[in-house]
């Protein structure tokens, strides 16, 4: 029993996964995404016009301008909720929740 408990403690967490947010029709899909610490988020732009995904607040990130078909990625290192937007189109908003 003790051995089993010890094993539980050292068993590695679920492997980090990659989540995709599609940017199409001037919106983030999904607009709200929940991931685990260590996961990777990839934003891919399907629109003709360029976009960014730019985090507000503490855990800042910025994909920079993504042209059609380009991807930007961010590894979620810290737990918390971050609102983000597109700096080119202030009407575009998203939220990333890291648990």
């Amino acid at each position: 029993m003790i051995v089993w408990l010890l094993m539980l403690l050292v068993v590695p967490k679920a492997p980090a996964t990659t989540h995709t947010v599609e940017i199409r029709g001037m919106e983030f899909h999904p607009a709200v995404l929940t991931v685990a610490v260590g996961d990777t988020v990839v934003w891919i732009n399907r629109d003709i016009v360029p976009h960014t995904a730019t985090g507000h607040g503490r855990s800042r990130w910025d994909t920079g301008q993504l042209t059609q078909g380009q991807e930007g990625r961010y590894v979620a290192r810290r737990a918390g909720e971050t609102s983000y937007a597109c700096t080119l189109h202030p009407t575009m908003h998203g939220k990333l929740i890291v648990r």
Binding site: G25, M26, E27, D47, I48, V49, P50, Q65, T67, Q68, T87, L88, H89, P90, T91, M92
Partner: protein
Amino acid sequence: MSRTAHRLLACALTLVFATALHAQNPAPAPAAAPDLSDPEVAHVAVTANSIDIDMAKFAQTRTRNAAVKQFAATMITDHTAVNAQAAALAAKLGVTPADNAVSQSLEGGAKQARTSLEALHGAAFDRAYMDREVAYHQAVLDAIDKVLLPTTENAELRKLLVDVRPAIATHLEHAKQVRSQLGAPVRTGM
């Protein structure tokens, strides 16, 4: 693309820019549809995008308002991207843009609008530029929804319209947001 589609497209573009360039009164009087060829329609589309890009470039040199500056930068980026896509489609369909009377009248109208804007500075400039951008994008959106989408049958042209529409709608919202931050009544007689 059928001949009818061309006429409708040319008519719509003429309406859009006749109304957008005389910004404050966007009451489209159904103008006679000019009989444009494929190369001429392509030229009109490219000219229309280029006019908004040039206006934005001028706005960047004139405004000191950060939100107006940012809006102008987005217009340059987005209309350049749309123009590239339109040019790619024209090339794919084997069409080389050709100058024509509609393009020239658009350019004439843009020159007039530019002259009016050049006389303005500070907050008066910002309001007049943003008023024009609200009217322009509203007119383009109306043309897409009421004329172009219901009548365009060419699958590739239709796809381009469907793809461009959300960007125009977003520009309109963005323009209204910036305009409302500027306050003061809507200026007339641009």
